[in-house]
Symmetry: C2
């Protein structure tokens, strides 16, 4: 294993992206700076950013640098439009800084499609990767599970699922320090049907690969403790992720409804509050915020568009962790090894 | 609208199916008989069933009839094997009773693949249906949402999604008494990617159909209140369903863990217990047990394999509701109208 990079890391932040732009990015940045050694480049309207920093007495912070960008990519903008007409957007410029080496990674809460398209265009994919994938952690009984792809690719072929598996395995090995991450394919349980063609073929490819492939899991397997990475097509992964969020919201909604029913239930709620809070922390989506765009020649982290400062800071931490553990370089190395193994056969 | 059937309904129960066979089916049957007019045919090992009924003083119940079947389909048996070698299974015989008209519907907790294959072989699909689908209700903010397909079909074509939409629309119209059920296609939110080919084509077909198609929803849309039916490929639907179950289990697990942490949290749990129970009832999977096999010339309901008596009784209620509302006949009528409309174009 390559030794982690110990020099100070520099992260470029798309300070204008997401639903809240600098209102979230600046507090998150200051928060991160207070307890880590990281250097940050805030990319966006320089005057706006400077004013916000001044308001917090942080305009002369030695580890913050501003980088001007005149445009902003809207949350609903088509990726192709952003690529064509927003060449000086905070998102694009932040990614450019990764390309030129001024930053080690970038974090954006901007729209996923535009971020993926721009990152792919500017940074290019790693040799051996046809399509980059989006990967995030989801809480599980013990710790968490990494799931990919979450929507960058639809109609993925078996070969793509294999590439996702390699990337997921390398990521978890690097950031969670697990020697041989357990990789599963997301499937359905019906006998004889046993998945679609793509999944059947992917299982064969994974079995023949050096990856620690442990077989199929169904949707509920994501939340168990027996796998580290769940691999699936982006359409399926996105549905699984959004469905999970929907169930968690529904349960929260019903629970609040029940505790608000009358004075007695409100009192019961007060008594139970510390317990309910401790419980909520375990599934707090903010602590899982930050999806990795894997397969690129550089580290790009997507924050949820509606993320608050706590959540955005978490995405910055993920970016740091991936840089310190040289994730793109490791993925490239493993892909090369996989291809060498295939050619030798 | 055809007027609902008011004559007493007869339901055949696969009394040997599921993880618990008669241990669950008999209590569920007696429960249902105590408050509805239904006639039940218990299909399975006659001596075993008679003995169990005797033990409950119910062997002479005027609305229970026993029907002998020598075999049982195992939970892991391949559908093709069940079809070929289990011609006298409780599952097959129960379906035969629907075919001959002795029963109006059947309910089985046996394995889904075998049930679907056998039902399709014995009852045949309705004219205009290529593939039957599995449909169930999922709790939502207000009431519930019907979702199909849940795993009978993978790699569905757009035309199949249209057929699922027709079936879902008719079902909800019939059983929930909603004039024009709001039908949505399950999709992912990325701009420009906006779903895979199948979903894009299905959207065009649905727009051109008489169905009240309201557009795309993402995974979390299943749990909102703005759609009645969510249509998707069986692979995707199965993942969404199992993922939902997984999240609900994870949340229950974490909540129990927190309330069991120490004596204080246990006390808080006691105080909150009535509220937590009321909340649990809202998402109790037993009250959603019973998936409809739609598109067949007859009514077949699949109960969860691990269902208890309360849950199995719910599946029987669903069977009754579909018979009383002539669901297969209505689906056939709507399909004929759809085809006439297409030919007129």
């Amino acid at each position: 294993m390559p030794s982690p990079t110990q020099r100070p890391v520099t992260i470029a932040l798309d300070a204008m992206g997401g639903d809240f732009g600098p209102d979230v990015v600046i507090p998150a940045a200051l928060d991160i700076l207070s307890d880590t050694e990281v250097n940050l480049i805030l990319v966006g309207q320089e005057d706006v950013l400077r004013e916000r920093l001044q308001a917090r007495n942080a305009d002369r912070h030695e580890r913050i640098r501003l980088h001007h960008a005149t445009q902003t990519v809207n949350m609903n903008e088509l990726p192709s439009q952003a690529l064509r007409f927003k060449k000086d957007s905070s998102m694009r410029v932040a990614i450019n800084l990764v390309k030129t080496g001024e930053a080690d990674a970038c974090v954006s809460a901007g729209n996923t499609g535009a971020l993926m398209a721009t990152a792919r265009f500017v940074l290019k994919t790693l040799p051996g990767i046809d399509r980059p994938a989006i990967c995030t952690t989801i809480p599980a009984r013990r710790g968490h599970t990494h799931v990919l792809d979450l929507g960058a690719n639809v109609d993925s072929k078996a070969e793509h699922l294999l590439q996702f598996a390699v990337m997921g395995s390398v990521l978890v090995n690097a950031v969670d320090n697990i020697e041989a991450p357990r990789i599963a394919l997301l499937n359905i349980g019906e006998e004889e049907i046993k998945g679609n063609e793509q999944v059947k073929q992917a299982a064969a490819l994974l079995n023949a690969s050096p990856i620690h492939y442990v077989g199929f899991v169904e949707g509920d397997g994501i939340f168990m403790e027996d796998v580290d990475v769940v691999v699936c097509d982006g359409f399926v992964g996105n549905v699984a992720l959004k469905t999970s969020e929907g169930v968690a919201q529904l349960i929260r909604h019903f629970m609040e409804q029940e505790f608000k029913r009358n004075i007695l239930t409100r009192l019961a709620g007060l008594v139970a509050l510390p317990v309910l809070r401790a419980f909520s922390r375990k599934i707090d989506p903010r602590l899982y915020n930050g999806a990795s765009l894997l397969g690129l020649q550089g580290t790009v982290i997507k924050s949820h568009g509606g993320a608050d400062a706590l959540a955005f800071a978490n995405a910055i931490k993920i970016a740091m962790l991936e840089v310190q553990n040289a994730v793109p370089q490791r993925i490239a190395k493993h892909l090369a090894a996989l291809q060498a193994q295939r050619q030798a056969l």
